[in-house]
């Protein structure tokens, strides 16, 4: 066997070791980020989720003011934790539109009654269609949409209280 071939397995192992070590040192995150950042919101027109809030469509986002689009559900546990933070954002003048994923009207009403209702409009999506359109892979997720209907930022998971300044900053950047 040629001399160089003898050392090939050891070299390959070195490479393998490097791959493993990098996997341990810098573990990748398990979330799947949307690739739609910077792209326009897809067309959509969702029915009303609850009687006391209007339905939601793309046209609501092209009015010139940056808004938050919050994807949530009554059966989603982190959404409960997020509710007070959204209330705080709403109080700060941020307009939040929501989409209830796979939810019955009664359940959404109960959720809002219990956790507060920061939403201006709420659409209902029974087959996760808007999620696929947005590149969202779970609940809760929040998208910053600028005045022209372009998605500028995706926040995966619930917004924590300490992340409020960051969200406000993203909204300002979207002006």
């Amino acid at each position: 066997m040629k001399h160089w071939a003898i050392w090939l397995p050891l070299a390959l192992f070195g490479l393998l070791f490097a791959v493993f070590a990098s996997g341990l040192i810098a573990p990748g995150d398990r979330t799947i980020a949307s690739q739609m950042i910077g792209k326009p919101l897809p067309d959509f027109d969702l029915p009303q989720a609850v009687p006391d809030r209007p339905a939601l469509a793309k046209a609501d986002f092209t009015g010139g003011k940056p808004k938050l689009l919050n994807v949530f559900a009554s059966w989603c546990v982190p959404c409960i934790a997020e509710a007070p933070v959204l209330a705080e954002l709403a109080k700060a003048g941020v307009e939040i539109d929501g989409v209830a994923i796979r939810d019955r009207t009664a359940d959404v009403q109960q959720f809002l009654a219990r956790n507060g209702n920061p939403y201006t409009r709420i659409g209902r999506d029974d087959v996760s269609k808007i999620q696929f359109d947005l590149g969202s892979s779970g609940v809760p997720e929040t998208f910053v949409i600028n005045g022209k209907g372009i998605i500028t930022y995706q926040h995966i998971g619930e917004i924590r209280a300490d992340q409020v300044p960051m969200i406000l900053q993203k909204l300002k950047e979207a002006q």
Binding site: K2, A5, Q131, S137, G138
Partner: protein, 141 residues
């Protein structure tokens, strides 16, 4: 190990009843298309799309609600006459290459396709060198 094994099982074959939506599955999540050719095209596509909320499964064999919703999307679009590759491209546009098991040849993935070729060439080189040298050493190698 047991705890994680339970997690595995609960994600694949058992469904934790607590955090679960109460709506029925999407119309085409568990319903086949009428046209067998279209259903086959849909099935072939679904076997190669990755479930977004599962650990590592195709949407064709997962009971997760989101997998059902994805199957619904695929079937509805195929029923409308969309090309499977167009549907795949639509999903990749939103979620990146991660969502498709069918690897494309890109700047990131070309080594995957080069590897079998390289391995075969390497094998040919090693085998040839061994047998040519053996033959050079005289007769019955």
């Amino acid at each position: 190990m047991i705890r994680a094994l339970i997690l595995f099982l609960s994600l694949t074959l058992a469904v934790p009843v607590a955090a679960q939506d109460s709506l029925p599955p999407a119309p085409y999540a568990y319903r086949q298309l009428e046209d067998p050719a279209k259903e086959k095209a849909a099935q072939d596509l679904m076997m190669t799309l990755r479930c977004l909320t599962c650990q590592s499964q195709s949407i064709a064999d997962s009971d997760a609600p989101m997998a059902g919703d994805m199957r619904n999307q695929v079937r509805e679009r195929i029923a409308r006459g969309e090309d499977p590759e167009a549907i795949r491209a639509w999903l990749i546009e939103r979620y990146g290459d991660w969502v498709s098991y069918e690897p494309r040849v890109t700047t990131m993935t070309w080594p995957l396709f080069a590897a079998p070729v390289v391995l075969l060439l390497l094998a040919a080189v090693i085998v040839r060198k061994r047998f040519t040298r053996a033959r050079a050493q005289g007769g019955k190698g």
